[in-house]
């Protein structure tokens, strides 16, 4: 495979990039100044070299601790639990949340072989039990998908016995959507209106194709 085709293939693997866009990007790099392309390559190298998960919360950091965990003005008694580091970034953009985070690294999905041991659940329990941070409240901000809801139910069962207050993001986030697509003000409102977790969830819509449901059981 030619170097050109190889890069087209690599770009094509990125989310939201189809073969046409990938090809256009590669030709753009070839036509442009060589140092621009070198800078891009260097930035990717630096990203991989310098960025690591924060040793406390799991979000991306360039030091042992991330910027949020190092910031002395953040409210240490409040921890917001999210599925991925991307959601941290979404919530940070609202500029309305002043607590800390905990990144699970996914959500429960037995169909995909993902159980509690594959998520940073034990680490979260340890953060609470150690008492070092003085955590009083945990906000469960998992996605409103079926898997995200189940993950929240599971976490509630683990966390409640540890003596912390457990809350869940308020409704208002479109059902079945990922936090990444929710606009900032909706997300800020959902944070403000978070509720105590109760073991009851009304039926909600999911976006699956109706074909599946009519064809098989």
């Amino acid at each position: 495979m030619s170097a050109l085709d190889e890069l087209v293939r690599e770009f094509g693997r990125l989310p939201g990039v189809g073969p046409r866009t990938a090809t256009r990007l590669v030709y753009h790099l070839l036509r442009g100044r060589r140092e621009d392309a070198h800078r891009l390559a260097g930035a990717i190298e630096a990203l991989l070299e310098r960025v690591r998960p924060c040793s406390r919360c799991g979000t991306f950091a360039e030091a042992d601790l991330c910027e949020v965990c190092r910031d002395p003005s953040r409210e240490r008694s409040l921890v917001c639990v999210v599925e991925g580091a991307f959601e941290v970034q979404s919530i940070e953009k609202t500029r309305r949340y002043r607590g800390l985070y905990h990144v699970l690294g996914g959500r429960l999905s037995p169909l995909d072989g993902v159980g509690p041991d594959d998520l940073a659940v034990a680490a979260l329990a340890e953060r609470i039990e150690s008492g070092q941070e003085g955590i009083v409240e945990v906000i469960l901000a998992t996605s409103p998908s079926v898997e995200g809801e189940a993950t929240a139910v599971y976490l509630e069962g683990v966390l409640r016995p540890l003596g912390v207050r457990v809350t869940r993001l308020a409704r208002g986030i479109p059902v079945g959507s990922d936090l990444e697509y929710v606009d900032g003000s909706t997300l800020a409102e959902a944070l403000a209106g978070r509720r105590e977790v109760r073991a009851e969830t009304p039926a909600q819509a999911v976006g699956a194709d109706h074909e599946d449901m009519l064809l098989r059981e």
Binding site: L108, S109, P110, L111, G113, G115, P116, V146, E147, E149, A150, T151, V153, Y154, G157, V158, A199, E200, T201, P202, A203, Q204, A205, V206, G207, A208, D209, H210, E211, D212, M213, L214, L215, E217
Partner: protein, 417 residues
């Protein structure tokens, strides 16, 4: 709704054509394997957007073609009458196309693609009767659940979403059970399963309850005196009416007007509590067996005959699946379809478009005479029926316009009898 015009392209063995249908309907006459059933399948495809025979979409494309496309012009009243203005329901166009490459499926209503195909279900308001319907009675509970799922998905707002969610949660919970996951990992799915399952249970129960009187009287009329019993047996221990369980919804509970989301959630609540309690009690059994043993995926609804006089038959009547004769089973299946048509009428406020595929073929003379009378009274709307011979078209006193089909080619010039 009345089907005014049907456009066929590349569908099964049917020749491409644009057909104008009379408002009262049409009788399509032709020998077997000429395409009669395919014609009805094409019309009904635009109701449920899949083959009524379970054929995969791409296999509906005629040999050698790249795609099929179906389009219906539907509307109120007779096609010859100009449509009145004002708030009278206007005519609409429903279309579906499937392309072999991809494959790509596209559904439109008035040229617009709905957000989801599920949103376009039920536009035609058609109900299909076929000789195969006997399987609804004779086969296992899965056939009956599938029937109920389609009828409710098309006619009960909110049902399809709840069912999809239920299936998704159930698949996850069963995967956890299969993996012998710890108790807490299984239990994490229970509130979600109970929430979605509650709505499925409640709506199925309401439909059976609302339909039982019609079922009883249809069976009585066609059989000449035997009274049919339609009963719901939820796949959750106990059952509505049993101590501690939610009572069956009131009469007419099948939603002609859908409660809003908040109200619906509170109607679901007792069903959810009941189901959640049963899940808790059954958890250890589920873990031993590695699968979820209770829930609407184990629902059954039974069809029986009311015992006459001293006959000591069990409550719910003698089960037709087990004890019914061929004729009794066919009668019960027909009654289910008439219930379906009644559901469409209640939901849409307009008589269903009846598609009758050679329905008298397997009934004895007495029964088919009475079915004829019943359908003549029930079918206030348009009827499209098929028959192998002219002599078999007795519906509406032989006055339906007659079309012929041969080798997939439809001749519309025929005269009524």
């Amino acid at each position: 709704m009345t089907l005014h015009r049907l456009r066929l392209q590349g569908f099964r063995n049917l020749e491409d054509a644009t057909l104008e249908l009379p408002a009262e309907g049409v009788a399509l006459v032709g020998a077997n394997a000429q395409g009669k059933s395919n014609f009805l399948e094409a019309i009904h495809y635009l109701e449920i957007f899949r083959s009524c025979r379970g054929t995969r979409d791409t296999r509906l494309i005629r040999f050698g073609e790249d795609f099929f496309r179906l389009e219906a012009r539907i509307g109120p009243g007779a096609s010859s009458v100009p449509e009145p203005g004002g708030d009278a329901p206007r005519s609409r166009s429903v279309a579906a196309a499937v392309q072999r490459a991809g494959p790509i499926k596209k559904v439109t209503v008035d040229g617009e693609e709905p957000p989801r195909i599920g949103d376009a279900l039920g536009e035609m308001g058609s109900v299909l009767f076929t000789p195969d319907d006997v399987r609804l009675v004779a086969d296992g509970p899965q056939e009956r659940r599938r029937f109920l799922d389609i009828v409710l998905s098309v006619n009960a707002p909110g049902y399809l979403e709840a069912l999809q969610r239920y299936r998704q949660v159930l698949a996850q919970r069963n995967a956890a059970l299969r993996d012998r996951a710890p108790r807490a990992t299984v239990e994490a799915w229970d509130p979600l399963l109970a929430g979605a399952g509650a709505r499925v249970l409640r709506m199925r129960a309401a439909w059976v309850r609302a339909g039982a009187p019609t079922f009883r009287s249809v069976v009585e009329e066609v059989s000449g005196g035997e009274r049919g019993v339609l009963a719901y047996q939820p796949g959750v221990p106990g059952g509505p009416g049993a101590p501690g369980n939610p009572g069956t919804p009131g009469s007419g509970a099948f939603p002609a007007v859908q409660p809003d989301e908040h109200e619906a959630a509170s109607i679901d609540a007792p069903w959810g509590d009941w189901f959640a309690g049963a899940l808790r009690e059954g958890l250890e059994a589920d873990r031993r067996r590695g699968t979820t043993l209770i829930g609407p995926h184990r629902d059954e609804f039974t069809m029986g005959l009311e015992p006459d006089g001293e006959d000591p038959a069990p409550k719910g009547g003698r089960d037709l699946r087990e004890y019914g004769s061929g004729g009794q089973k066919r009668t019960a299946a027909l009654a289910l379809r008439i219930l379906e048509a009644e559901t469409v009428l209640r939901r849409r406020g307009r008589p269903a478009l009846l598609l009758l595929d050679d329905v008298f073929a397997e009934l004895d003379a007495d029964r088919s005479e009475r079915v004829l009378g019943l359908l003549d009274r029930t079918a206030a709307g348009q009827v499209v029926l098929t028959a192998p011979k002219d002599a078999d078209v007795r519906f509406r006193h032989d006055r339906l316009p007659r079309w012929r089909i041969s080798g997939g080619r439809i001749e519309t010039g025929g005269e009524g009898g």
